[in-house]
Symmetry: D2
Subunit: 269 residues, 4 copies
């Protein structure tokens, strides 16, 4: 489809009430904007900086909460897995299995995910030249699965900073799979805990999202929360959900122009 879709939800699965409130607001936004929303939340954060930080409710409880969201609101679900043995149980409920960026080169994990037959969303590793994303794509295809999404989330740029290179969208788009832009993690400042307000740079969200959409993405990934400052993970980078609708409006119009002009130019080489 040529319509811009949205992957959204709280970063990590929190209290069920918050999860439902966010879902309800997402449904309203989706209806008013006329867009498709995939509900995203993590049952386990495996790469937080400290063992003391909240990592989520775990697979079983987490999937149960996601299942309720799906049942009540009808959203397709997306969550990330970190180890091969999580693939099958998660795939029973979740529609899109996400491979975290750090893990995009782990063959066993990718194969296990691919073999579930679910859609696989591979995040672009912060350390991987974007054209090399063809490698995880090929691994998934070679496992008999061609339902693939690729998601950009910024590339290592000096220390504790990420850059979003528009050329990345060019390369990922050439795989002919849908490309998503995770603008939430692109503004994360590593080395600063995500609960510290300086751990994210939300002022860049509009300029990044607009650039990414004009560069040709098919979907946006924006973690949203009813009260980001109290979120249990990525408090500094999630978007306050009350801004989400206005945030999306210019993106939908930019996307329409971009789609109109896709492939209208000859290859300039």
């Amino acid at each position: 489809s040529d319509d811009l879709f949205l992957i959204s939800g709280p970063c990590v699965i929190e209290d069920e009430k918050i999860m439902m409130t966010v879902a309800e607001q997402l449904r309203e936004i989706a209806e008013r904007l006329g867009i498709k929303v995939i509900y995203k939340s993590s049952f386990q954060k495996d790469n937080r900086s400290s063992l003391d930080y909240y990592t989520g409710p775990g697979l079983e409880k987490g999937i149960a909460i996601l299942a309720k969201v799906k049942e009540q609101f009808g959203f397709p679900l997306l969550t990330d897995i970190h180890y091969p043995d999580q693939a099958a149980p998660v795939a029973e409920v979740v529609d899109v299995l996400q491979i975290p960026a750090y893990l995009c080169m782990q063959s066993q994990l990718i194969v296990a995910a691919a073999q579930t037959g679910r859609v696989i969303n591979v995040k672009h590793g912060q350390f991987l030249a974007p054209e090399n994303m063809k490698h995880p794509v090929k691994k998934i295809e070679d496992s008999g699965n061609e339902q693939i999404i690729l998601t950009e989330r910024g590339y290592t740029f000096g220390y504790n900073d990420l850059v979003v290179d528009p050329r990345s969208f060019y390369h990922m788009g050439r795989t002919n799979y849908p490309v998503v832009f995770d603008v939430t993690h692109a503004i994360r400042k590593y080395g600063i805990p995500s609960k510290d307000a300086k751990g994210g740079a939300r002022e860049y969200l509009p300029v990044l999202a607009r650039a990414g959409v004009a560069a040709g993405v098919d979907g946006l990934f924006i973690e949203a929360h009813t009260c980001p400052s109290e979120a249990l993970c990525d408090a500094a980078s999630q978007l306050d959900i009350r801004y989400l609708e206005e945030f999306m409006k210019p993106l939908l119009e930019l996307h329409a122009i971009e789609v109109k002009y896709r492939n209208t130019l000859p290859e300039l080489a």
Copy 2:
């Protein structure tokens, strides 16, 4: 003005006939698209890799050719200077004095340019964090000149590569001066002579330009030539002028959307 403007012309001043042909085609394109064009060409390339490469006709001859272009086609002119004593003679004819990216921190050069009273276009140094562009801006203001343009052209990314960071447009835009995106030099591959076809990556031109426009630039800088492969400088990165009009069309529409939504969101901090 809210209209996207275009800085274009051959990289370096070549044979007068070529200069006039390009100008004529630019006038036609400008009229059909309804955009303002500033004619750009260099009388001296001072940072080519070899003393054996063509560096242009020099100041006197070069300015004379530019004057003819202005007289015949009415374009405002833009050219770059490298040494303080070039500022005054160039300013007699040229409307916009450009400070090359490598030289954006050279105080004497900037002051000399500013004191001519002409518009100053400062290119963003490949080595300068974009928020630091406030420093050359302040030097120009302190010299009594507030006619300033800032131009992005890519930032050092590993060796022999440049990245266009959408955040750069955010920072340069906060100066409240017009911001331009020089997409031609952003695709240059250093370490490979510009006459070698591998010295530029034109396949990135559309995705970069679209991202930059949606990120909020006010103008585009695209060097164009009637036969890039025979151009005397930057043969691998200049655009064949026959593609220029089609290249601009989506950018004008994206720009209109971007302008419509400028400052419609609260600052997300």
Copy 3:
């Protein structure tokens, strides 16, 4: 100990005969140089670019071969694990469990490894500012294990290139755990298969190793093979073992000078 130690062996576990030949030559080199050697080889490569590439003999067969090396030559063993359930069985035989660079932030993996009580060698992620290596260190300590080694192997620098920043040795050294320099992977050129001779830049090995030793490392990590061009992994970057002894000689002398002058200067702040 103040003596420079060496981690060496073939990248991946190959034919038993090759494994033993390398071990024999390493023993001779170790004796002649008077240094301690830890024998390293991988039973599984989980992040190769293609599912078609050789990934090793697997855990069971691989550990059996390593056990023979240990029995026959007396080396302590080092190998890398990718999933938590590999930690315990590997730890039965292997002395040092290595956490791969891409996985240095995976909490479950690190905790499982730490809980074996074996020495843990954490590779510095290509995406992690070196001072952030304190985070995996703390996770291991919090799991009750203080036998830790940290290994530098280069940091993302543009696309498909790694840079070895001497400041990384400064930061990792401040943890007060031994720091190792993996010079073999620092010269790998990603995006080019490791069997292609252009996939590694061995010409940099001496300059990098010398810089790293003078910067204060405690050990070197150099994959070595009797015939690198026929190696089943990292053919382009492993060192031909016949050069290893000469390669180490200046490093031992530089290390002696560096140790002599450790902490002789006041902190310059």
Copy 4:
């Protein structure tokens, strides 16, 4: 010569008394260590962030002070020039003309400097892949001058940070001209005024210098001042001269080892 030489002095020419005091202390250090010292100071800083900052006494007064230092202490002199017309008058007194890093690609400046017949020290541009330093070298040679020094001072790494890549010493060394490591500017934090203590990271000086020397440099460039915190430029990065002698001792010993093992290995390719 195989002896490590030292380029040192205050960043910018200040009060004559300070210049003489530094020179006197440098002479004593040089004698005790048995090394050759080249006295460095700038008569003009042309790329400071603000027009309000001190830029030095200017060419005429500055050169006069340097001449006194030379007369009284016998040091060869080094200073940097920014514009072609400074080359000839500076060369009357100064032995080594330095081309600043930002300006290393400016042909007219380099040619003017080369034509004086003095030694030319070209700083490695923060934006130039190190192997491309062959281009300024060739421009100097083509101007009839083969007295060349190349100086590393760090390469752009993300924003406001520089990395010292040991591979740079490899590439610059292959020109067969002496290579110097300017450790003072490698620790500068751009975007923070140099008078702010956070504008430099002196804690890295030992690790960087040791790495650079082991990587094969022929000389060190260390700006030194009797009271850095009151220095009129680069207050945060100059070394307090009372630490200089101890700072150099390990470097001399590391250098002796490195020279002993130069070219003892075959080219590893």
